[in-house]
């Protein structure tokens, strides 16, 4: 390609897109009127009311009164909306059947079945635990998955390594970095003073709390409790250890890899072990899982392992969220 062709193509492209030199004759270009810095303004301000156009009057009114009128309108409309919604809901509530009546549609034959045959079919003394882990085990699986997903999403948002790379791209706001309130405070667990009282109490109470958490989880099918509350108690023990002995100590045995490994394996065990009911229920086969006598610990089929899985997930999630908010890493 020779240069003439290139130049021709460039000019053609510029002509098509409208860029480039409009004319080669500079005399033909009209001069723009000079924009004086402050001499134009007083004329506009001093123009009388009857000399302004309608557009200018509208703009002036918006600049003067717009914000206050908008805020008043917004507040009143929000209050009116809330009152209307609450009123409609109250009318609905008044149409509900009386509280605790025996003929409620909420007390239907499902409850009869659960209460009458629940003990013999599930083997659980605690009807609620038998219901959420045997009749409705899929719901509990979903809840555990929701907990795990929440913790992982918080991990993605708040991990400290990602945050160091994220700097503001606009130079207009680089001044904010100098202010004190944007600097992260030092993590709680690197305080300089060792609290003797807290360490003494923690050394006595952490084993007791772990033991109590395990008792609550294992007796989930006998007494109220189960996986969720037992997991919360276990996370309490971890948080107390992190507060009393420093974050590094907990990081030795409970770090990000441990949490993800334990939670994923717990969810997998739950899914694989409870998946038999999809086959046996559809084909009307009796599953071979022993139910045992009601009232023993080793009874109720699969409820005990499932409780343990749920407890592991809950404990890891609650401690993980706490550590992410205060440290930036698990």
């Amino acid at each position: 390609m020779n240069d003439g062709l290139k130049k021709f193509l460039l000019d053609f492209y510029n002509w098509v897109t409208g860029n480039g030199a409009r004319t080669e004759n500079e005399d033909a270009m009209t001069e723009l009127p000079p924009v004086l810095p402050f001499t134009m303004e007083p004329d506009k301000i001093q123009s009388r009311f009857h000399e302004k156009t309608l557009q200018e009057r509208r703009k002036d009114w918006i600049n003067l009164h717009g914000l206050s009128v908008f805020s008043i309108l917004y507040r009143s409309f929000s209050i009116i909306t809330c009152v209307v919604i609450v009123g409609l809901l109250l009318i609905t509530v008044s149409e509900l059947p009386p509280f605790g009546d025996e003929n409620n549609p909420a007390n239907n034959e499902v409850i009869d079945r659960y209460i009458k045959l629940g003990g013999n079919e599930t083997g659980a003394q605690n009807i609620v635990a038998g219901m959420i882990l045997d009749y409705r085990a899929f719901d509990t699986f979903g809840e555990s998955a929701v907990l795990f997903t929440g913790a992982v999403s918080v991990l993605m948002i708040l991990s400290a390594a990602r945050r160091k790379n994220d700097e503001p791209k606009n130079k207009l706001h680089s001044g904010f970095n100098d202010r004190n309130f944007l600097k992260r405070a030092p993590p709680i667990h690197e305080l300089k003073d060792d609290d003797a009282i807290l360490r003494g109490v923690a050394s006595l109470s952490i084993p007791a709390i772990i033991l109590m958490g395990c008792v609550v989880i294992i007796n989930g099918h006998l007494t109220p409790g189960g996986g969720f509350s037992g997991g919360a108690v276990l996370s309490t023990a971890l948080i107390l250890c992190a507060n009393a002995y420093g974050f590094k100590k907990v990081h030795e045995f409970f770090n990000e890899r441990t949490y993800i490994f334990s939670s994923s394996s717990a969810l997998l065990i739950y899914a694989l072990s409870k998946g038999y009911s999809f086959f046996t229920g559809a084909n009307h086969i009796e599953s071979g899982i022993p139910i045992g006598t009601i009232g023993n610990i080793f009874s109720a089929g699969l409820i005990l392992p499932l409780n343990i899985c749920v407890g592991i997930i809950v404990a890891g999630t609650l401690y993980g969220v706490y550590a992410l908010f205060s440290e930036g890493e698990i």
Binding site: A185, P186, I188, V216, P224, G225, V233, I239
Partner: protein, 105 residues
């Protein structure tokens, strides 16, 4: 488990205890909302937890079921850890602000 039968006088006494405790919980709620310093709020939260433990014990006597006492233990652990974490976070923030003032001054 058969119900532990309580007499009428015991029943009224326990109900009075329960109502009294709930009213005092309400006052603690006031203090935790109004208290100008953070120590007021922390102590009010701990007190609410303690009173709820007492309330659940009274309730287990009224109803006659014995498993509610396990829930009391869980409540005690949770309120203890809440006070510890709250106090540590506020103290660390205060130390940090003092350090910043020393740096600025």
């Amino acid at each position: 488990m058969p119900d532990i039968e309580i007499s009428n006088a015991e029943y009224y006494l326990l109900m009075f205890c329960a109502i009294f405790l709930s009213v005092s919980i309400f006052f603690c709620l006031f203090r935790s909302a109004l208290g100008p310093r953070f120590t007021d709020r922390v102590i009010a939260a701990n007190m609410i937890g303690t009173k709820i433990i007492a309330l659940i014990s009274v309730l287990s006597l009224v109803i006659g079921e014995d498993y509610l006492v396990d829930i009391c233990l869980i409540y005690a652990v949770i309120s203890f850890i809440a006070v510890v974490v709250l106090a540590r976070s506020v103290i660390s923030n205060k130390n940090y602000q003092d350090e910043l003032k020393e740096i600025d001054a």
